[in-house]
């Protein structure tokens, strides 16, 4: 059904990280095939966000490797990782509150534009052209998430649901190869969640690879091609949604084992 090529886009190999005595991640390995939606699920504190921070360079693993497009990226600083084409959103939305909605998305174009401090201050002719294309691409992404009519409002003025969409638009403006969404549906109502679902599927159509952390099981089951389940820092199952749903270990992790006996 899915065209899975030989080389995965992202490969995690035996990733371990402890915060003091807490083993946040313990020998986690899995791969993400290009063009797929991979979900990471697990109870609170299972290590999902830690995993995201490791992939995006905000944390370094104590052991193990993160391989993106065949290149080891663990230990690289976040901006370097971003420049390779990995974009993310945050569990707690992190917008530039006092910049406009449009400007927020324009910052997303940072890695794909090059006007430096001096060129910008002197407003060299080529930078004006670059500005125009930055603005146009940013507007396109705003249209995609349906925020174009709010382009000139400050980002802080948006309700939470729209803030999440704006964060996605900002990440998309960076034209990533891999997009990491950290609980994009949290705080969204049913209608907004449905729109998010359509959006994720549309992005996969575009050829984007998505890694998703999500607590909304309905959404996860609908959009994920593969699911990895974490529990106390360990990977306890991977597979397509239907298989994972039936996995007794997964059920035990979510519901506890007592109910069976």
């Amino acid at each position: 059904m899915l065209a899975i090529t030989d080389q995965p886009l992202l490969e995690l190999k035996e990733i371990s990280l402890a915060f003091g005595g807490l083993q946040a991640l313990d020998g986690v390995s899995f791969t993400v095939a290009p063009g797929t939606v991979q979900a990471v699920i697990g109870p609170n504190g299972a290590g999902k966000t830690t995993l995201f921070n490791l992939i995006t360079g905000f944390l370094s693993p104590q052991s193990g490797r993160v391989v993106f497009q065949g290149e080891e990226i663990q230990g690289q600083p976040p901006h370097q990782v971003a420049r390779l084409g990995i974009a993310r959103t945050f569990q707690l939305v992190q917008l530039f509150d006092y910049m406009t909605v449009l400007e927020n998305v324009m910052v997303g174009r940072h890695r794909l534009s090059r006007a430096g401090l001096l060129a910008g201050a002197l407003r060299l002719p080529w930078t004006s052209q670059e500005e125009v294309s930055i603005r146009e691409r940013a507007l396109e992404e705003l249209q995609f998430v349906g925020l174009a009519d709010r382009a000139h409002q400050p980002a802080a003025a948006l309700p939470l649901g729209l803030k999440r969409l704006l964060e996605i638009a900002r990440a998309l403006a960076a034209e990533p190869t891999l997009l990491l969404l950290d609980e994009p549906a949290s705080g969204l109502d049913a209608v907004e969640t449905e729109r998010l679902q359509e959006m994720i599927l549309a992005l996969r159509e575009r050829g984007l690879t998505i890694l998703l952390v999500e607590h909304d099981m309905g959404l996860t089951m609908e959009v994920a091609d593969q699911i990895a389940v974490l529990n106390y820092g360990q990977l306890i199952a991977t597979g397509p949604p239907r298989e994972v749903q039936k996995n007794p270990e997964v059920i035990a992790a979510y519901l506890g084992t007592d109910w069976q006996t």
Partner: protein, 321 residues
């Protein structure tokens, strides 16, 4: 044509500057205006660092002093051409900002404030103690005036014709900058460093760049200052002046280019006006600052704009009565 198009700050700035040049012929006022210009250069630079970039500096007077003393020493003691000395000041300040910035900008908030404060104090002590070089606490005299092709800039009017066009250019550069790719990255750094990094902004490098950039403004201001007064002393570059610069930024408005100019103007003129209150001068000065910051916490420019919009809103029958 739309008349509002002509009501933009740049046109007003140019018109006011031209009018001043044409009409005003009072040395006292022109000198005061020149100091406003020099202070505005400093404040707009500090505002880029602080208001836009979110990195506090309590040692900005040190760069002002370094530029000033480099110009002063090279011209008065070694007879170097003032323009070359000005360039040398830029180099000295740029290199110093780089060397200080690399370790200091790893710090945040209060810690960065402390580090820059320490830097300011060290430089101040250097100015007072390096007698042979700087003339010590009694200052450095005999700094020649600038001249352009034999035309000596030695009267307030002539200096005005240099300082304010320079200020105009610097304001324009700064306004361009904040509305450019790097400017957006700078504001993004201020409002969410993590998010900025996740989009590929090298925040460490950007902080250093803007620190150096604002130090260059200060150096330029310092050189102009030295050649305006023809005499400099360490007391102009102490901790209190650093604080005054921060006050100008905050009073005029953080992250506002025009606020920088207004902040510099108000805090340069106000002490002059208040001298008539003699001993109570400082108290009244403090009280004015407090009142402004309580009622216009976003600074003068934004605060007055808010008030204006509120008034119009009420006139148009808004619900707030």
């Amino acid at each position: 044509m739309n008349p509002r198009k002509f009501l933009n700050p740049w046109v007003l700035f140019g018109a006011a500057a031209l009018l001043t040049a044409g009409v005003l012929d009072n040395d006292y006022y022109l000198t005061l205006i020149n100091f406003i210009g020099i202070h505005a250069l400093l404040v707009v630079g500090l505002n880029l660092l602080m208001g836009y970039g979110g990195q506090i500096s309590l040692g900005h007077a040190a760069f002002f002093g370094l530029g000033s003393y480099t110009s002063g020493i090279l011209t008065a003691t070694y007879g170097v051409n003032p323009w070359l000395a000005l360039l040398a000041g830029l180099v000295v300040c740029g290199v110093t900002a780089f060397l200080i910035g690399v370790p200091a900008l790893k710090l945040r908030g209060y810690y960065l404030a402390m580090a820059t404060l320490g830097f300011g104090i060290i430089v101040y002590i250097f100015f007072t103690e390096a007698h042979k070089l700087t003339g010590g606490p009694s200052g450095l005299a005999g700094i020649p005036s600038l001249s352009i092709g034999g035309f000596k800039l030695d009267t307030p009017k002539r200096l005005y014709l240099l300082i304010w066009p320079v200020l105009g250019v610097i304001l324009a550069l700064s306004a361009n900058l904040v509305d450019s790719r790097t400017g957006r990255a700078l504001r993004a750094l201020h409002e969410g460093e993590t998010a900025a990094q996740s989009l590929g902004v090298n925040t460490a490098k950007l902080k250093l760049l803007i620190f150096i950039w604002s130090a260059l403004y200060a150096s330029l201001a310092g050189s102009l200052y030295a050649h305006t007064l023809n005499f400099i002393a360490p007391s102009s570059f102490g901790f209190m002046f650093s604080i005054k610069l921060v006050t100008m930024v905050v009073l005029g408005g953080m992250a506002s280019i025009w606020g920088s100019l207004l902040g510099a103007a108000v805090l340069t003129v106000l002490p002059e006006i208040l001298t008539m209150f003699h001993d109570y001068e400082v108290i009244i000065f403090g009280a004015i600052l407090m009142v402004v910051m309580i009622f216009l916490p976003r600074g003068l420019v934004r605060g007055l704009k808010d008030l204006w919009e509120f008034r119009r809103y009420k006139k148009e029958g808004g619900i707030i009565g």
